[in-house]
């Protein structure tokens, strides 16, 4: 197979994300309580915190699955708080899921193609005929994906393999590939290296750095692997019990006493007393 490297890759400019005063509530449980988060264009920002801190809730609110109680989400200064999840794809917001959410019945290639869905235009009649515009569009899509995504993430050997039979690490990578196919301006990764061994983790970390460097995309990630977070992030934001307790460079955060206390637990800390109850009521 000889991929044609004719057209220049389409690289939309990195976006800036501003989250202000975000609160989220499930019944009586406050999952998020007035979170502020600022993600600079082209940066890698990590959202960390102990279990139940509200990281994934924040992700789900930013990507539009949960309606926040208060607060705003702004993409490049435009308020998108009321935009439904599916329409955020077109704005350049792409994400992956903590527990992989690929289309299990499809091949790697089809999964990645789906990432571009919102950017394609052919309709149902074109689809039946597979001729003219539809055919051209599909061919361009295939060439682009081969060049920009499959070559880039080195997935060529598995492009026609059904994702269901791939090992975990590769599935995570395919999910990243699908997100890239969305031509994201901001890429949100929910625990991209969870459950991976050392080698897979390094491979993924490298891929994330490459994505940022070569695609110039903003990356926001949630991750438990501290080593990886501290290695690749420009900016770290720490959540605990739905509140932001610290933000800054990896070094600043590492030495912040509140953060140490949150992770190791400290005597006399009121949050500690609330731990048992809150951990059980934590949602998502």
């Amino acid at each position: 197979m000889s991929p044609s490297h004719s057209a220049a890759p389409v690289r939309p400019p990195a976006a800036r994300l501003d989250v202000e005063n975000l609160s989220l509530q499930f019944g009586g449980v406050k999952a998020l309580d007035g979170i502020d988060l600022h993600v600079e264009p082209g940066s890698i920002t990590a959202l960390i915190g102990p279990n139940g801190a509200g990281k994934t809730s924040a992700f789900n609110a930013i990507s539009g699955f949960y309606r926040p109680k208060t607060g705003t989400v702004k993409l490049d200064g435009v308020d998108i708080t009321q935009v439904p999840a599916r329409d955020r794809a077109k704005l350049g917001l792409a994400r992956t899921f903590q527990n992989i959410a690929l289309f299990r019945g499809m091949t790697v290639l089809d999964n990645i193609k789906l990432g571009r869905h919102a950017h394609l235009t052919s309709g149902v009649f074109g689809a039946f005929l597979y001729w003219g515009k539809t055919r051209r569009e599909e061919m361009e899509l295939r060439a682009e994906i081969e060049r920009d995504v499959i070559d880039f993430l080195e997935l060529d050997h598995i492009r026609n393999v059904p994702v269901a039979i791939l090992p975990y690490g590769l599935q995570k990578k395919v999910e990243l590939a699908r997100a890239l196919a969305m031509r994201p301006r901001i890429l949100m990764l929910d625990e991209p290296v969870a459950g991976m061994n050392r080698e897979e983790t390094e491979d993924m970390a490298r891929a994330i750095l490459d994505v940022r460097d070569e695609w110039g995309v903003t990356v926001l990630l949630v991750e438990h692997d501290m080593g990886m977070v501290m290695d690749i992030s420009d900016h770290v934001c720490v959540l605990n019990f739905g509140r932001r307790i610290a933000a800054g460079s990896p070094t600043e955060v590492r030495n912040n006493p509140d953060v140490i206390k949150a992770y190791l637990g400290g005597s006399g800390d009121p949050r500690k007393a609330a731990l048992d109850g809150a951990a059980m009521g934590e949602v998502a």
Binding site: F26, T56, N60, F65, F97, V283, A284
Partner: protein, 294 residues
């Protein structure tokens, strides 16, 4: 056209009589759903097979009623257990749609079995309920309707008591809430599954005997299941109370529509209600609304 008040009252009471049978069958459905999360489309056919087994014992073998009824319920329990063991359990870990479609296949099998053994002709069950009509003042209630209502009500009272206080009932509710947790506290989850199907088959068979004694039996009586389906959806799939209330309501509604608009409008009315409930309140009046987690 003036509708006589007494006509309305009599129709309503007859409807509530039928409704109690729908409620009873609905409870059978809910038992299965609560324990195994299986939507059993074959509940009407399980009712039908119960009625035919009873016919076999009471008319075929000419056994007395006091022997036929327990024998029928015992056979129903065996059938329920067999269905669970051979068709449902192998698929419980699969997606719910597969199990649902298995129950669709089951309807076809049960109808075939009944037609094979008893043919497709409608039949009458031997008379065993007192035939003296019940009169409340001027209001006339056919005896079969009245007695089947009493029996259905008694059966449901027993079931509800059992579920609230007996250990097995609590185990069933625990399994319904969280299989893994139930299993970890030592509840025999597969046992609960088998038991729930057996119990539901017994309840459905009892309902079948009653439905059959009121309106006769045929291989098409599984259609009763369609109304029961509406009952459990309106009431909420996992709510016994919902099945009770919705059962009485749907029974009443079908009787009123049948009496005052014509029999062909019955199913139309029920299914229109079903569509409205599905769109407005999909989890039913009393069902649990599950929060979707990502």
């Amino acid at each position: 056209m003036a509708v006589e008040f007494i006509d309305i009252v009599e129709t309503s009471l007859a409807g509530i009589g039928t409704g109690s049978l729908m409620a009873l069958t609905g409870v059978a459905f809910v038992i299965i759903y609560k324990a195994t999360k299986v939507i059993n489309l074959a509940i009407g056919e399980m009712l039908m097979i119960g009625a035919f087994v009873f016919y076999g014992f009471s008319a075929g073998l000419s056994l007395p009623i006091w022997a036929s009824v327990p024998l029928t319920l015992a056979v129903a329990a065996v059938i329920g257990g067999l269905i669970e063991r051979t068709m449902i359990r192998p698929l419980l870990k699969d997606n719910p749609v597969s199990v649902f479609m298995v129950t669709i296949g089951l309807t076809s099998v049960l109808i075939g079995v009944v037609e094979l053994v008893w043919s497709a002709e409608p039949r009458r069950l031997p008379e065993f309920l007192p035939s003296q009509p019940v009169l409340f003042g001027e209001v006339f209630i056919p005896s079969k309707t009245a007695y089947s209502f009493v029996i259905a009500a008694a059966a449901m009272a027993v079931l509800i008591t059992v579920f609230s206080f007996w250990r097995g009932g609590i185990a069933l509710r625990a399994t319904a809430t969280d299989r893994a947790a139930a299993s970890s506290v030592g509840i025999d989850v597969p046992g609960v599954f088998s038991f729930s199907w057996m119990l539901a088959a017994v309840v459905a068979a009892l309902a079948g005997i009653l439905v059959g004694s009121v309106g006769g039996i045929s291989s098409a009586m599984g259609l009763f299941g369609l109304s029961v389906f509406v009952v459990v959806i309106v009431g909420g799939l996992d709510s016994i109370l919902g099945a009770l209330i919705a059962g009485l309501f749907i029974g009443w509604l079908e009787a009123m529509v049948g009496r005052f608009m014509g029999g062909e409008f019955k199913l139309l009315a029920t299914f229109t209600i079903l569509l409205v409930v599905l769109v407005v309140r999909p989890y039913g009046l009393f069902g649990t609304h599950e929060i979707e987690r990502l």
